[in-house]
């Protein structure tokens, strides 16, 4: 790919104040006229046209504050994202706020947009990014970081936060990868960790007031941007403004501390937690894509958070505590959602949906309601127990019993104790037995290699467990299939494994070949693996600090795009970028970190006590398991104090489930 070129400064030729003003502002030029003639030259043009059912169209001039929401990947991947959908509805419900959506163009259109001077655009009106007040980006993982720079560059705004002025959009990032925004600190204005609903509305208010004050001459124009950043950092809880913090390094390069350098900003920025999901009943009018996307279904989040305590799982750690939606609310959201979208599938989402205290009733009631209709129900299920098969049976009443997915995550009992995945081999085999005898024809098993303390014996145990499950499959039908899917583990911030060394791609390759060799005689047992090289970029960005930013920018300049796609091979660009910017991959990813070492995300408070994470890390090394606190007494991870947790835990009311199969639902 040719290196990106700066797009001509379209914004400069237009009276920005008229476009970026409060109500009554003039709409910016639409990019549609220039874009449309190019659409037949690119792949999947429907992803760039918008116009989907349930989109919200508001007049530019009707709003005081205008948001452009973004998912830093293609429409195909980003469209189903729940976070964007929820914020889109919440913001557009405010009479004086407007929110539109954007994604990142595939390489073919990016090239054409540069040639034809077309700015990154919204799907609703094809308004250019540079005209909006807030550019809000969700970072579900780290492999969209270079795409974020593509969005800035195409959108006509400077890459670096310190090069932007009050006439540029405020760049805000959220999502799971925003729990360590340090590798992006140079590029973003604000990061928020945690739930976005309340934060977004508070930020919207601050931006609105700032715009009015600016128009009224409430502060010197030269201070306008700093004033905005200050207001955001001091008035909106959870807003982390990297410009107001500085890292201090020891002579040997270790991080000592990241400290505030602006008065009035918090030393540790708290994450945001919505305490009562009942007050946030979204999405209601989910956008219905007109072209293929990765998940085409109406999704209802049945609870947020997870307390299973799997030590590798960042989502399970950073989204605590568990907050459930009431079964009647779930049923209502499903009913209204189906009516408003026409989707043929409903997904009951959460990190471990079978764990909802009332999941049996929820599944049965929905299955009753939609029995005999063309609506199918799905539960992204990963819990290994018989109860999950019962649930699967219930939800598949309408359709086929094709595949069930389980995630034992590790092959040996020892390894599962280390990662706190409390599933026994007996559980797994009993579950497989029940599934295949119940008519299911395919089981998919998810595993990881590269986990802390892993030996070759642990790796081979993955193959052995896969073979045992496959033998059960064959006794119920020669056409039954088992797929073993193995990925390389990447340690994540705010987890007990944040101190753990990551395996190199060579080591992951070696382990995957061991598994491949061990199962090769079993032709109906399929092995699927991820490219171990992909974990290199993800690992660096997951636990990187601010010094990694130069490598991000350099990799992007060298052509890194769409790092999460098999179609693009960007590792070469990344390795070159790391060389040129002095970023030592081994230091960031392959060494074990020390107890007394400062971590780049220490000043961002996920709620979890660092001491507790450390003791859980020590427990992991000692192969000690820890029960789910939903059903057992509190072990003081630190999340709950300060929150009003009336109905957040089922402890007391419900039986202890541990790793035993739950009682069956009738």
């Amino acid at each position: 790919m040719t290196p990106p070129t700066a797009i001509p400064d379209t914004a400069a030729r237009i009276d920005l104040a008229q476009i970026r003003g409060t109500r009554g502002a003039v709409a910016p030029p639409s990019q549609w006229e220039a874009l449309e003639p190019l659409l037949l030259q690119v792949n999947k043009p429907a992803q760039y046209v918008g116009g989907e059912h349930n989109q919200t169209l508001k007049d530019w001039g009707s709003a005081d504050v205008r948001w452009l929401l973004n998912y830093p990947d293609t429409y195909e991947v980003g469209q189903p994202n729940q976070g964007i959908q929820i914020l889109y509805e919440i913001l557009n419900e405010c009479p004086t706020t407007l929110a539109e959506r954007s994604y990142v163009p595939w390489l073919d259109l990016e090239q054409l947009m540069r040639e034809h001077d077309i700015a990154l655009f919204s799907l609703e009106h094809h308004h250019p990014l540079w005209a909006f007040d807030v550019f809000a980006v969700t970072l579900p993982h780290e492999l969209g970081h270079t795409n974020l720079l593509t969005a800035f560059d195409l959108g006509g705004i400077p890459l670096r936060s310190d090069e932007r002025t009050a006439d540029h959009p405020l760049v805000v990032v959220g999502g799971h990868a925003a729990f360590n925004p340090e590798p992006l600190a140079a590029f973003i204005d604000v990061a928020v960790a945690g739930d976005g609903e309340e934060f977004t509305l508070e930020l919207d208010d601050v931006v609105r007031t700032w715009k009015h004050d600016r128009e009224g001459g409430g502060f010197a124009e030269a201070d306008a941007r700093r004033e905005l950043l200050r207001r955001v950092a001091t008035q909106v809880s959870g807003a982390y403004v990297p410009a107001f913090y500085e890292p201090r390094y020891a002579a040997d390069g270790r991080l000592l501390q990241t400290v505030p350098v602006e008065s009035g900003v918090p030393h540790r920025v708290p994450k945001r937690t919505v305490q009562d999901l009942e007050q946030w009943q979204y999405p209601r009018k989910q956008i219905v894509p007109m072209t293929e996307v990765v998940h085409e279904r109406f999704s209802v989040e049945i609870f947020r958070g997870c307390t299973r305590g799997c030590r590798f799982c960042q989502a399970g750690m950073i989204t605590r505590p568990v907050r459930e939606r009431k079964p009647e609310t779930i049923q209502k959201l499903v009913r209204e959602g189906i009516r408003s979208t026409g989707f043929e599938e409903v997904g009951l989402l959460s990190l471990s949906s079978a764990d909802h205290a009332d999941i049996g009733d929820i599944a049965r009631d929905l299955a009753d309601e939609y029995e005999g209709t063309a609506t199918s129900l799905s539960l992204p299920s990963t819990r290994v127990d018989a109860f999950n098969v019962t649930l699967g049976n219930e939800l598949a009443r309408n359709g086929r019993r094709t595949g069930l997915t389980f995630a034992p995550e590790a092959g040996s009992e020892r390894m599962r104790a280390v990662i706190n995945k409390m599933v026994s081999e007996a559980d797994m085999l009993r579950t497989a037995q029940m599934a295949f005898s119940g008519g299911w024809r395919h089981i998919k098993l998810y595993f990881m290699v590269g986990l802390p303390t892993e030996t070759d014996e642990d790796v081979l145990a993955i193959a052995e467990l896969g073979i045992k499950v496959y033998e059960i499959a064959r006794t119920h039908g020669t056409k039954n299939r088992v797929t073993v899917s193995v990925g390389g583990f990447v340690p994540k911030p705010h987890t007990p494994f944040q101190w753990a060394p990551q395996d190199s791609p060579d080591e992951i390759h070696r382990k995957l070949s061991m598994i491949r060799h061990a199962i090769k005689e079993h032709s109906g047992l399929k092995l699927r693996t991820n490219d171990p090289e992909e974990g290199v970029i993800e690992g660096l960005l997951s636990r990187g600090d601010r010094r990694v930013a130069d490598a991000v920018q350099r990799a992007w300049e060298l052509g890194a795009r769409m790092d999460g796609w098999h179609e693009t091979d960007t590792l070469g660009a990344w390795r070159q970028a790391m060389d040129q910017t002095g970023v030592d991959l081994a230091w960031y990813s392959y060494r074990e970190r020390l107890e007394n070492e400062a971590l780049p995300w220490d000043h961002l408070d996920s709620g979890l006590e660092k001491d507790w994470l450390w003791s859980d890390w020590q427990d992991a090394l000692a192969e000690q398991e820890l029960d789910d606190c939903r059903w057992t007494p509190c072990y003081d991870c630190g999340v709950c104090p300060g929150l009003d947790l009336v109905h957040d835990t089922g402890y007391q009311a419900l039986p202890v489930l541990g790793s035993r199969p739950a009682p069956e639902v009738v």
Partner: protein
């Protein structure tokens, strides 16, 4: 089971929806309108919505057709209106027809297509473009063979004989826009509107003044139905769509 045939539009942004994706656009609209569409039997039931052919991506249309089969009879007036209202912007149902027993298949009601190529007019050149087009149209109709080459995604080049399917061709001017309308027979080789333009352009090659044909601003399938002297009798409404809706352009 009740069958209803409809004529609908695919204009604006929905022009970029592929034929493959269109099936789910219809399925979801039918579910939103709460109409009891019938489903096929089998492992993966599909709603019984059938289309006679696929419109190329990017081409506009006021002449798309589908047959809907309902599991329970609906009151077609309000039912089809509700369905039309919930379609994405750019798609609209223009006409419906309840299919009596023994009716011919939908495809047999659509023996011919009326295409329209709308040309861009940048200055006062519309008369000149229209004249060029009219001259080419005459030559095209007088020819015995008129081929267009079409490159597929895999790089393979396919040659289509446009003349074999071409029934009539006329150029007229509506306001200042030159419109080329053509009637093609659907039983011949599959001709796309882009093939018509390519074929006409090929007649220009070798001209001394080097004047080329501008690219059409829009290709549109206007309607499908029976060939009549002045154009095409639309299959469901019986109305005639004229081959020359505007002021005729004479050859130079």
């Amino acid at each position: 089971m009740q069958r209803i045939r409809i004529r609908y539009t695919k204009e604006g942004r929905t022009r970029y929806v592929s034929a493959r994706d269109l099936t789910s656009v219809w399925e979801r609209a039918l579910r939103r309108a709460d109409l009891p569409i019938a489903y096929s039997e089998g492992f993966t039931p599909h709603p019984k919505v059938s289309f006679p052919d696929a419109l190329p991506v990017g081409v506009a249309s006021t002449g798309e057709y589908a047959e809907l089969t309902f599991a329970v009879p609906i009151d077609p007036g309000p039912g089809i209106a509700a369905l039309s209202a919930t379609l994405p912007t750019g798609m609209e149902i223009l006409t419906y027809w309840e299919v009596p027993d023994g009716a011919p298949k939908l495809a047999r009601m659509l023996p011919a297509t009326l295409w329209e190529l709308e040309y861009e007019v940048l200055d006062a050149s519309s008369d000149r473009i229209a004249q060029d087009l009219a001259e080419l149209a005459e030559r095209a109709l007088a020819s015995h063979e008129l081929t267009a080459q079409r490159e597929r995604a895999n790089g393979e080049v396919r040659t289509v004989d446009v003349r074999a399917a071409l029934e009539d061709l006329r150029v007229s001017i509506v306001d200042t826009t030159p419109l080329l309308r053509a009637v093609t027979r659907n039983d011949g080789p599959t001709v796309r509107p882009t093939d018509l333009h390519t074929a006409l352009s090929s007649l220009l090659s070798g001209r001394d003044d080097g004047r080329g044909l501008p690219e059409p601003r829009l290709h549109r399938r206007v309607a499908q139905g029976q060939i009549v002297a002045t154009g095409l009798r639309e299959a469901l409404s019986g109305e005639v769509e004229r081959l020359a809706p505007g002021r005729l352009a004479g050859a130079a």
